[in-house]
């Protein structure tokens, strides 16, 4: 039999190779602490794959939505814990989630710093639209927001980025001049 000679590979591996980086970026953007992002992604992915994995193909929007809901749940529990322990959440800049070779490109670095300056709501729309490659309709379903709200947030975010990037570049230039 020919089939006896064939290997099998779980479908989730190829699925995750396609979507893993985008999902991890969104998890990092949603999580309150840098070390939490992988746990968030793992929990969301395992839950969704156990539910729908037998079909062989899962819409990435489901995992994005699960990540967001879990992040909200976890943030609530963290807030309760922090209230007890009187701790402050660590800062989690999104720029750390990109290739470090970008450090040589000043413009791209400025762009990432500008993304970090965006308000959370606008940053998540940009993340889902640009790197998650979702449509506005899918984003509105993922974030439980109206289509108009999502589209407006994206438009405002781009306007802000347009203004922030030159600022970031000039700040960097003046900082390096002072160091010299």
């Amino acid at each position: 039999m020919k089939h006896d000679n064939m290997n099998t590979e779980p479908i989730w591996k190829s699925w995750f190779a396609r979507h893993g980086a985008k999902l991890l970026l969104f998890a990092r953007q949603q999580s309150r602490r840098p070390d939490e992002a992988e746990d968030l992604l793992q929990e969301a992915f395992v839950r969704i794959w156990r539910l729908y994995g037998h079909t062989g193909e899962v819409a990435p929007g489901l995992v994005y939505r699960a990540i967001r809901r879990l992040a909200i749940d976890w943030a609530r529990s963290i807030d309760r814990r922090q209230a007890r322990e009187n701790r402050v959440a660590l800062d989690n800049p999104l720029s750390l989630s990109f290739d470090r070779t970008l450090e040589q490109d000043e413009r791209k670095q400025a762009l990432l710093r500008a993304v970090d300056r965006l308000p959370h709501a606008q940053k998540e729309v940009v993340t889902l639209k640009i790197w998650g490659e979702l449509t506005f309709d899918e984003i509105s379903q993922t974030l439980d927001e109206s289509l108009n709200t999502v589209a407006s947030r994206y438009r405002y975010a781009l306007q802000k980025l347009r203004d922030f990037v030159p600022e970031e570049m000039s700040d960097k230039t003046s900082a390096s001049t002072v160091e010299e």
Binding site: Q42, G56, W131
Partner: protein, 209 residues
């Protein structure tokens, strides 16, 4: 390209870091048996070579023998088309047109022979009266008891999850039934069983987690 499109293009050029190998193995462990629910087949390198037809380098697919065979087939096809054309154009159709044109379409004789069916509301068979049925069929006409209906569940098929147009995922489950109707005639101990298959599709809305 305006400045916003340029900005979008610049943002897209930034690639997020992929998860590490350690994370993938952690994920595999966390998935457990659920990870192996859907698998795809990967043919081995040797195996895929076996699937390819073994063509010796010297044999050309368009060899002389094959070319001769194909030419023969085309020739036979052309000959058949020519014979058909000759057959049709040599008076086999034209005379029949003439004969048919001379005959009236409807005649009194034809209409007199037609025996229109009689509709008897009491009869279970359309076009046959109850009396005709009783005369010609060994089946008794009167004395049947009320039919008994029964729904027999055959099987359930879970067709999995699909995304509804509203975006809410739903599980589609299909139920297969067999509807049975039994007529019985106690006097002659005759029974007639009618079965008809039926299926029901049920959508169960699911939460994302």
């Amino acid at each position: 390209m305006n400045e916003y499109e340029q900005l979008e293009a610049e943002l897209r050029s930034l690639k997020p870091l992929p998860p590490g190998e350690a994370f993938s193995s952690k994920l595999e462990k966390a998935l457990g048996s659920a990870g192996n629910l859907a698998v795809r087949r990967l043919p081995d390198a040797e195996d895929s070579a076996d699937f390819l037809p073994s063509v010796p380098p010297e044999s050309n697919p368009l060899s002389f023998t094959r070319l001769f065979f194909y030419t023969g087939c085309v020739g036979a096809g052309l000959a058949a088309v020519w014979a058909l054309f000759f057959y049709l154009s040599n008076g086999l159709i034209a005379p029949s047109y003439v004969i048919e044109a001379e005959q009236p379409l409807f005649t009194d004789q034809f209409s007199a022979q037609v025996d229109l069916p009689v509709d008897d509301p009491e009869s279970p068979v359309h076009g046959v009266t109850l009396g005709q049925l009783q005369d010609t069929s060994p089946m008794p006409v009167m004395g049947w008891s009320d039919p008994q209906n029964r729904e027999r569940f055959l099987r359930l098929v879970d067709e999995g999850i699909f995304q509804r147009p509203s975006g809410v995922p739903a599980r589609r489950v299909r139920h297969y039934y067999m509807d049975e109707t039994l007529w019985s005639h106690p006097a002659s101990d005759m029974r007639i069983l009618s079965t008809s298959p039926r299926e029901e599709v049920i959508f169960i809305e699911l939460d994302t987690y």
